[in-house]
């Protein structure tokens, strides 16, 4: 067909998109977004580092941080990382039910993480350790709540993906979206490593 189409066809037309693997440039673009998000967290970490001993007469980290709660939250987020990994494996094997199951587990763990974090914030504010108390607490709430908001939006995205999977199944676009969400979710876990190490553990040691 290539030879006889020479005369009467327009010179150039695209029958379909170039068939890359699902994603292509989107995945790299989303990765660049994540790197810029890392810069936001870097500035928040730097702010916290500068202000971390400006107690203004308020409580110090050792007095207010409850390490068992932080350990619980860290465990929840870590397990949610591996369950999202299982969702990705099920996706690549083309198993819709398995993908949905592991995504639901991941979403519930994410919700538990946000719940525990809100409980922790509630306890702190109840004890009088509010963001207005000192520069240290302002920086602490800004950094940790920014991470918590990211997780919250990750859960919203995850619920949207569950609806899409239910309606359309594992087509290439959904695979691309799930891969982006996977990067987002694991990225938040990496940020949390920084939070629990530099904010909580080093704060209690101080």
């Amino acid at each position: 067909m290539g030879t006889k189409a020479m005369g009467d066809n327009p010179g150039f037309y695209v029958l379909e998109e170039e068939h890359h693997e699902p994603g292509g440039a989107t995945l790299l673009g989303f990765w660049i977004y994540l790197m810029s998000d890392a810069l936001i967290f870097a500035t928040l970490f730097a702010t916290y580092g500068v202000l971390s001993s400006a107690y203004a007469g308020g409580p110090s980290p050792r007095e207010i941080f409850e390490l068992p709660i932080v350990a619980l939250n860290t465990a929840i987020l870590l397990v949610s990382s591996i369950t999202y990994g299982f969702a990705m494996i099920a996706m690549h094997e083309g198993k819709l039910r398995g993908t949905q199951f592991w995504l639901v587990v991941t979403g519930l763990l994410g919700a538990a993480f946000v719940g525990v974090e809100l409980y922790e914030f509630g306890t702190l504010i109840h004890e009088g350790a509010t963001p207005q108390t000192s520069a240290f607490l302002s920086a602490f709430f800004t950094l940790v709540a920014t991470h918590g908001l990211h997780v919250t939006f990750g859960i919203v995205w995850l619920v949207v993906m569950l609806v899409q999977l239910n309606q359309r199944g594992l087509h290439p676009e959904n695979q691309r979206r799930l891969t982006c969400l996977s990067m987002f979710w694991h990225f938040l876990d990496v940020v949390w490593i920084g939070v629990f190490t530099f904010v909580y553990l080093l704060g209690v040691l101080r």
Partner: protein
């Protein structure tokens, strides 16, 4: 349908083994710092250095095992962006701490006892 045929093995997504290895490593790399701080086995200085080292290793483990950053993915551009971001993050954090610490020590003494020391 086409998943089985053209799956580019190991480029963007890991195998079950990669995920499990990463998970087991990160469990250890998380549990040990918490244990060190909560029991106070070592003195504060050594503990601080140890948990920072553990954090850096764990970030690298997550990057390789969960985020699948390697030299082949996207023709190496993810790795390049990652390294570039890492450099900027280090400059922002260490630079801020360095400058603000020296500003703090060179300031006139504050009236109260609080303030950055």
């Amino acid at each position: 349908m086409s998943d089985a045929t053209h799956a580019p093995s190991g480029d963007h997504h890991g195998s079950r083994r990669t995920y499990l290895t990463g998970f087991l490593l990160s469990v250890v790399l998380t549990a040990v710092p918490f244990w060190l701080v909560m029991t106070g086995t070592l003195d504060n200085q050594t503990t601080a250095i140890a948990i920072v080292v553990f954090a850096v290793i764990q970030i690298l483990v997550h990057t390789v095992c969960f985020l699948h950053v390697n030299t082949r993915a996207e023709g190496g551009w993810t790795l390049l962006a990652y390294i570039f971001t890492g450099v900027i993050v280090l400059i922002v954090i260490s630079g801020s701490l360095w400058i603000m610490y020296h500003l703090g020590t060179n300031m006139m003494p504050m009236t109260g006892t609080d303030g950055p020391s």
